[in-house]
Amino acid sequence: MENHKTSTSLRIGISVAMIIMMLGLALFLNAFTTYAITNQMKVLSDLNMPVGQEITRTYAIQQMQQHIFDDITTYQKLSSQKNYDVSKIQFESYDNQWNYEVKKIKNLTDAFLNYGLDNDTVVDLAIMSANLSEIESIHSLYMQKTNQIFNAYDKGKTSDLDTMITTVKTQQNQINLKIILLNDEVQTLTDSLNAGVEESKQKSFTLQMIIIISTGIMSLALGYFLNLINKDLVQEVIKKTRSLQKANRKLERMNVLKDDFINIASHELKSPLHPIYGFVELAQNGDIGSEEALAGISKQARQLEEVANRILDVSRIDNGILQLSYEKFNLSNLLIEISSSCRLNLDKKIKIETRLEKEIHVEADRVRIGQVIRNLVNNAIKFTEKGTIEITMQHNIEKNFVEVTISDCGPGIHPDILPNLFNKFITKGPNAESWNGNGLGLYLSREIINVHGGHIFAYNNKDLGATFKFTIPIMRHLKAKELHQKIMN
């Protein structure tokens, strides 16, 4: 029960800790995702857009330059020197603008790398950068070729230029194409960054859902464990209530027993007093002789003493202060002695027979054991009208016990009484149908035998009467060595 509760508390603790951890994780994930998305958005807004714009501008400048180049060749053919010169200056000015724009793009692309982007983006950027360099080198070749053409024009050589012009045209087309491709790449990069943002959002959403579901499950587990604890507590309360009720019933029973004890004690003490007063009264009036009266009084006084002793013994046992005075004595002799003295007082048609296996010396309280034997024999006599009471004794030195059996030919023990035979006042109560003794004898006998470390029990014989049996140890403290010697002897 205790273990079960501890493990349940542990489970509750773990559940709470996990819920808190999950919530913390959710917060952290949220912050991280927000950071990542913000970063990508920043890249998009800070870099991609300007780069796109610059590329468009570069493309426009390139177009303008191509137109101017066409104009220059036209003016040269038309020999319009003035227009030719103006166009040449314009051409060079566009070149400067073009270089400026390209440099701007390069700077922006380099700045990209400082944003700590993912690998794919960095690779994309590197490709972009390489393409840009390629465009730049084609453009410089293009500029060389145009300058050569312009130089030739300036020197008046107009023939044989068609090949060069064709080369320039080809270079122009290459540059245009490359710029368009570059623009596409920027677009791709923008798309992939956008996709990344979406992916981050999606991932974060999925993770958060998982965390929420896990937290829900944890909460359910927590609820379950709390319910378990609650059930345990309810069980505990029920158990405690039951044990209190049980204790209460026991107290009630004990109270009844106490009342019975007082009633029986008062009855047992008053009963012998009545004839004593009677003897005194009769003797005083001269109705009987004083000797007869004194003999009767003395017998009643002895009975009174016996009752008083029993009551004292019971209270000693109940308070746990029944002390034994151990001595070594011949149990066989004690049995013979008691059976002889019982025979003397017999007025019924009863025979008392003893069958004692062999003389045996035991270490026990002689007076107390005698009390038990006398009590059992007197009970047997009380319940037997006629027949034989048999007292037998057997012993087992190896197992260190001696067994005394007393069987009678009486009516036997009522099955209702038998299980509680050795309890206090069990034999009879004041309202019982039949009354014999004070209900303390067997209780005392059991306690005396138990204090000796022995056992006492009773059963009804198959044919007639009941049998009482008790065992006590032969030696109080039997050492192994002594036992061995005894067996060897």
Binding site: P272, L273, G278, L282, I288, G296, N436
Partner: protein
């Protein structure tokens, strides 16, 4: 004219003393040593008497006796003769007799032990005299 008395008590001395005192007062007393013997003595006298009256003027019963206790003996006697005068003598306190007293009638009395023998004789004689006057 002496009274006819039946007394049951398992204490042999008590029985002996009843005999002495009642015989001294010229009453006729039968002693039974247990409940069973008491019922048998009552039935025997009933058979011998051949009359509708009670066989004894009074029956003295100890409450606690072997074989049949006083209450059971009283029940059996009252079944035979519902108006038999019965006196219980008891060493118990009054409280213990309360539940047994449920069936007890006017003709049944309780005297607590110990009491004087002369007191008992006087009680029985005066009760009987009173009954005869009525």
């Amino acid at each position: 004219m002496g009274l006819q008395i039946l007394a049951a008590d398992d204490n042999e001395f008590a029985g002996l003393q009843y005999k002495k005192i009642f015989e001294k007062h010229q009453h006729n007393i039968t002693i039974a040593k247990d409940g069973e013997a008491c019922v048998e003595a009552y039935k025997k006298r009933l058979e011998e008497s051949h009359s509708d009256g009670n066989p004894f003027n009074v029956v003295l019963l100890d409450f606690v006796m072997p074989k049949k206790n006083g209450v059971r003996v009283a029940k059996e006697i009252l079944e035979l003769r519902p108006h038999q005068k019965i006196i219980f003598v008891s060493a118990f306190g009054n409280g213990i007799l309360d539940d047994a007293a449920v069936f007890l009638k006017d003709d049944v009395e309780i005297i607590q032990k110990p009491f004087s023998l002369e007191f008992l004789v006087n009680k029985i004689e005066s009760t009987h005299a009173l009954k005869n006057m009525r």
